[in-house]
Symmetry: C2
Subunit: 439 residues, 2 copies
């Protein structure tokens, strides 16, 4: 993408009304624009990050055997009356009446709707196990939306729903999601720690929040230091296997959110292993058995011919919230430092002197070669001052910068900078082209 | 995808409440499930088609220089008061009040919101031309939603908005979209004819609808037969060029929707060139100048230093509606016949005898090789009867079927069928594997 054709409204000043660094940086880099309390337009740069996260989530859900579909944003009130949540949900639910005065709502979550889909089509245990997921915009009418996309009202969530015949199978489905989450967050460059959590309005008796640590986190969390450096299960994990060992490798260490905190157990840990920190919730998984299937009559025939309510769990990832969460976890005084897998572009190509024939030619060659090699490139072909260009590239935080200036080009060289380490070195243009061609 | 792990609730009976063939087939093939009047869940098979169409639209918008972002579904009423459309839009607009009694609405279109984004950031003609687009769910509270996704209430639309300094530039932006639309629809296997159209509630003085012909079309359309076989401009079109000739090649022939129909001009055509048919609108483009920029004060500084309201156009494609439209245009008595580019899977691989070691081994090999070659494969590994398997594959309409049976496998052969032509022929498994490896 040529910057001269792009829409990247970067601003120098930190906005006065943004309380946390991710919100400030998302506004300054032109990633989002607020359209109302807790409602945002995802400007082109922000949208690219959102799509990359969505795609990682999709790949890891698919790998774990979940099947993607898409439920609508608006739902019928009657469905929520069946589960008893219509009245119970409170003011966070945005209630709507259509032109015929039918009661609807903007879905804050989808247990009822997916249970309705399930009971329409699935009648036998032979069609199980089943895990259906979608990534769709949701709305929760927060009293005080804040922290930008971290606590917005209209937000993008991945929610998966598992259906099994027995509790044992349902707990296995839960473990599959537990492991898939570890892999997904790891791919985004995050260390997300599963913590025992309260089940809240979703219900059930088994629940983990996936928490990343950040000073600006909304809640206090407590965990064993051993969990901080534990590698993810890895993409070659066999999701058909039992997975008990992978889960227990983590759950045997202490980790809990404030609501579930057990001071005594925590303080029994050696002092150097007691991590007491702030955390951001990026995922939340629940096993709740027949909480929805029973009142909604989602039953399947078992091998013995008996009809039984299906065992369910639900599994959320805050896709839009993750954009903010990743920035909270990865930035420095100059701006965002994107992990490679979620960066809006892989490389920033900076032309120091557009109009100079040699610089232009070198840039065009590199731009074409990088693009052909599958790299997403943002090519700064603007007339801005060199200092402004560098500052902007640092601010938006692409993992690599390639700078093309007249002196270097005369020697057949460009400068490559790693955004994270700040390390720079000269590279021969020829070598770079050859390498790109081979990749 | 193994069918045994997939969620494909195909049904034998034609649903009684579906009036047109695309709606019937989408229900029978388990592509959609209705959740309320004009509101649908996109089940896995339907969702795959929706995503393929969305991706084609994205690629053709990008090729024409448009930049993708994402606006929210909910908008503030005040923004629509600025343009004067809040009261004017009528009952099709779904009006919502949040917990603080603030007036909001579910966006039926986005001229106001994008104009607000534009005026926030763009102040100079140097930042033009600009074309911003998104693909987002919208809501229009139709009195009588019908025909499945063809006239739903919650629907997915691609809408692009162009911004230019002068009318001349704006008309050029219009031509770029005109050409990009022809290419996009062509890639979906559709002949979409641009027809002079009424501008309706969007406004403006220049507008074309893109219409595909189908007996079940909602409106009467009239055109010159010459337009039916005109090839699309092609993906190598230079969008920097003027494009006048490409557009005029079409607009010089008669083509109009009912509202704009000129009986006299139409009847002046030779009788054999008079096409009077039913049509489905799949896209609609508008040039409306300063209709929104003037009341909303979206002004830019020109080269002469004067501030002038920006010239705008908007460009819609009915992404979810297209799924139905393509089925209307491409089906037979056995089911859907997907054009290759939008098919939910490229190939249906049918194992005639799961459990038979030779059949299973051949299927696994072919499944792996096809997948490695980038084909989307639906592998029917179920225990259903052969007849049911064939009927289901025909019904869901994948372009190619590869059938693996014990007799063929003994001879090292499988049967390949083209869904559209119905032609079948035997292919050596070895040849197929070699071909896939080379592709």
């Amino acid at each position: 993408m040529r910057l001269s054709n792009y829409f990247l409204p970067v601003s120098k000043e930190a906005p006065s009304d943004a309380a946390i660094v991710s919100h400030q940086l998302m506004l300054r880099t032109g990633m989002i624009r607020q359209n109302g309390a807790g409602i945002y337009t995802w400007l082109p740069l922000g949208y690219r990050v959102l799509k990359k996260i969505e795609q990682i989530v999709r790949e890891e859900m698919n790998r774990a055997g979940a099947v993607e579909l898409l439920m609508p944003t608006l739902q019928q009130a009657d469905l929520w009356r069946e589960s008893g949540r219509y009245e119970a949900y409170g003011k966070e639910m945005l209630r709507i009446k259509d032109r015929h005065d039918r009661e609807m709502l903007y879905g804050p979550t989808n247990e009822e709707l997916i249970t309705d889909v399930f009971r329409t089509y699935v009648k036998s245990y032979k069609q199980l196990p089943l895990n259906l997921y979608h990534q769709q915009w949701k709305f929760r009418d927060e009293v005080r939306p804040r922290f930008g996309v971290m606590r917005g009202r209209e937000f993008l969530m991945k929610d998966a729903y598992s259906f099994d015949l027995t509790e044992e199978d349902a707990r296995k489905a839960y473990r599959r999601m537990f492991c898939a989450y570890l892999n997904a967050f790891d791919r985004m460059g995050l260390t997300a720690i599963p913590m025992r959590a309260d089940t809240g309005p979703i219900g059930g008796d088994l629940s983990h929040e996936f928490i990343i640590l950040a000073d600006t986190g909304e809640s206090a969390v407590f965990c064993d230091r051993e969990l901080l450096n534990m590698p993810a299960p890895g993409l070659d994990l066999d999701f058909e296997s039992d997975l008990q060992a992978v889960v227990e490798q983590r759950t045997r260490y202490y980790a809990a959110t404030e609501e579930m905190h057990d001071t005594k157990a925590f303080e029994a840990l050696p002092a150097e292993r007691q991590v007491s920190a702030r955390g951001i919730e990026v995922g939340h998984i629940f096993y709740f058995g027949t909480k929805y299937s029973e009142p909604m009559n989602a039953v399947v025939q078992g091998p013995d011919g008996q009809m039984v309510p299906v065992q369910m769990g639900s599994y959320g990832i805050g896709v839009s919230r993750l954009v903010g969460g990743i920035i909270e976890a990865s930035h420095d005084e100059n701006g965002i430092v994107w992990p490679e897998a979620v960066a809006p572009f892989d490389v920033g190509l900076i032309n120091m002197r557009p109009g100079d024939a040699a610089c232009d030619a070198a840039c065009e060659k590199l731009y074409a070669a990088m693009t052909a090699a599958g790299r997403d490139v943002l090519y700064d072909d603007t007339d801005d001052r060199a200092g402004a260009k560098f500052a902007r590239m640092d601010l938006i935080g692409l993992p690599w910068q390639t700078t093309v200036g007249p002196r270097g080009v005369a020697e057949g060289k460009v400068e490559v900078k790693n955004r994270k380490s700040g390390e720079k070195h000269d590279v021969s243009i020829e070598d770079m082209l050859a390498q790109l061609k081979a990749s």
